[in-house]
């Protein structure tokens, strides 16, 4: 009993009351106004398809990988997209190790709904051989530090990772033209994913007293709030998903107001992500130019033929295609959605 009390995070009555009263005069503890977003920084890893998002103390990492698998029977010419979340106790002591908890599942589902149901990723272009091989895109979201509003951060991390992800190009070969050859990145430039639009999640917190609303709640504010609503919109103002899972009741007019604010924020965040991705892309492009120039003016017969040999052996190796053994949890559009 005492052990349990010793390990939980404490919250004083003073903090709770102060957060609520300050909100009444449109102030928040970290100096923001109710509808200010925290500073957003997006960093990218060395490899393609990894992104780190930092918003205040919140720190989320997104990692995208792809694998050739057999398509689902009902959609033979579409690739798939699946999202996995990892809430390790490192990010917050309240996360328990082991199977994902309720909040991890909800986060995954909301990000998933925003991305998949709104068809942000073009899954048809992921098809290699209809009915046989398609690319399965897997997004892993790791919570490194919980400073509140994990959902928005995770969504941005997923988007940024998707935007920088490159999948190897592949072509059909063999005698019957049914064999898939995956070209290594040295041989053919890997392809980016086709993203139709960027669904941005914007979360609002609702407080019990006097119907106060705040955008992008911190960890402390999340402990005080009575309800939460996550709206997923893109820069065009299309609503892709809304999640308000119970909690404090809110007037219809407030929801409409939140949607309007969210569409503005979605535009801002889209800008930021695009800027970060652009600078990353130019950065990597520059690196390539620096790395390769020595090889380009090389004489033809020496190094180049060697390179070709190397490529050949690589192609041979690729005859063994990775088997779709991994169990990818798939969530079909269920009956009541």
């Amino acid at each position: 009993m005492e052990q349990r009390l010793a390990n939980t995070w404490r919250f004083t009555v003073n903090e709770r009351k102060f957060i609520e009263t300050a909100l009444l005069s449109d102030l928040r503890v970290d100096g923001r106004r109710p509808f200010d977003y925290r500073n957003l920084t997006v960093n990218f890893g060395k490899e393609d398809g990894s992104a780190e998002v930092q918003m205040g103390h919140t720190h989320v990492m997104g990692f995208v990988t792809a694998q050739l698998v057999q398509p689902y029977r009902d959609r033979p010419n579409e690739g798939s997209l699946s999202i996995f979340t990892e809430f390790s106790p490192m990010g917050d002591p309240s996360f328990e190790p082991g199977r994902p908890g309720e909040s991890a599942v909800e986060l995954g589902r909301v990000v998933d709904r925003g991305l998949r149901e709104s068809r942000a990723v073009d899954t048809e272009s992921l098809c290699v051989l209809p009915g046989r091989w398609v690319w399965a895109i897997r997004i892993d979201l790791h919570i490194l530090d919980n400073g509140g509003n994990l959902l928005d951060a995770a969504n941005i991390a997923a988007l940024a990772a998707l935007m920088t992800f490159r999948r190897p190009e592949c072509s059909l070969g063999g005698e019957d033209g049914q064999e898939v050859i995956v070209h290594p990145p040295e041989e053919k430039e890997p392809l980016p994913l086709i993203l139709h639009h960027l669904p941005i999640a914007v979360t609002f917190a609702f407080f019990a007293n006097e119907n106060s609303v705040a955008i992008d709640p911190t960890h402390h504010e999340e402990a005080v709030m009575g309800g939460r609503m996550t709206t997923t919109l893109n820069a065009n103002g299309d609503i892709c998903a809304i999640q308000k899972a119970g909690g404090e009741g809110v007037l219809q007019s407030v929801i409409m107001q939140c949607l309007r604010i969210a569409s503005v924020k979605a535009g801002d965040i889209t800008e930021k992500i695009k800027k970060a991705v652009d600078s990353f892309n130019t950065h990597t492009a520059l690196k390539k130019i620096k790395r390769h120039p020595s090889s380009i003016p090389m004489d033809v017969d020496g190094a180049d033929s060697k390179l070709r040999e190397k490529q050949k052996s690589l192609v041979d190796k690729k005859a063994t295609i990775p088997c779709p053994s991994e169990n990818v949890v798939r969530e079909t559009k269920s009956l009541d959605q």
């Binding site: 639009h197 892709c240 899972a245 009741g249 219809q252 929801i255 009541d336 959605q337």
Partner: protein, 226 residues
Amino acid sequence: MEFVSPEGLRLDGRRPTEMRQIRAELGAVAKADGSAVFEMGNTKVVAAVYGPREVQNRSQQLSDQALVRCEYSMANFSTGDRMRKPKGDRRSTEISLVIRQTMEACIMTHLMPRSQIDIFVQVLQADGGTRSACINAATLALADAGIPMHDLVTSCSAGYLNSTPLLDLNYVEDSARGPDVTVGILPKLDKVTLLQRISCRLCMTDTTGEYKGIRISTRWINYNEG
């Protein structure tokens, strides 16, 4: 596919803003403290409430309010093709969370400290709108158990197909992959507590239609209770 005929009728003969027939029955599970069966057309859901009772896992006991738990499940035979889904998949975990948070918001939990309320919801037949039916059933079961609440939550779904807003989607309309929304409102306070929208590219549909439907359902529930 044509979901609304030129005459303005839907596949099952309803008008766009017409609900399916709803039927509710209290006291379906004798052992439970409160229970209800709720039907919306062919969707049929049973909810049972146990409690407030002693907290089973004493480390979860809250000294100032009741602990609310919810478990949602779908019977294997509830859909057309019998499925064998493992218990506790991601979808049911999420719906359990949604139902729990919705109910928690209207139960006066501070009146029952150090106790626990369990809500069990099972879908017996699924024909679209199971989420709404579950919420409605759970509300009725809680009322039947005599648990003090701020308001009864009522829920309904709506969608947008063939550029027409449709109320209370059935399975066929639901699987058309058009935008749809599930709303849960507190009719007395006129506030929205649950809102889930899944859609692709859509401007805002007017929600008046669905509100109308929900009002009807509220009235009906009240009648049923009386």
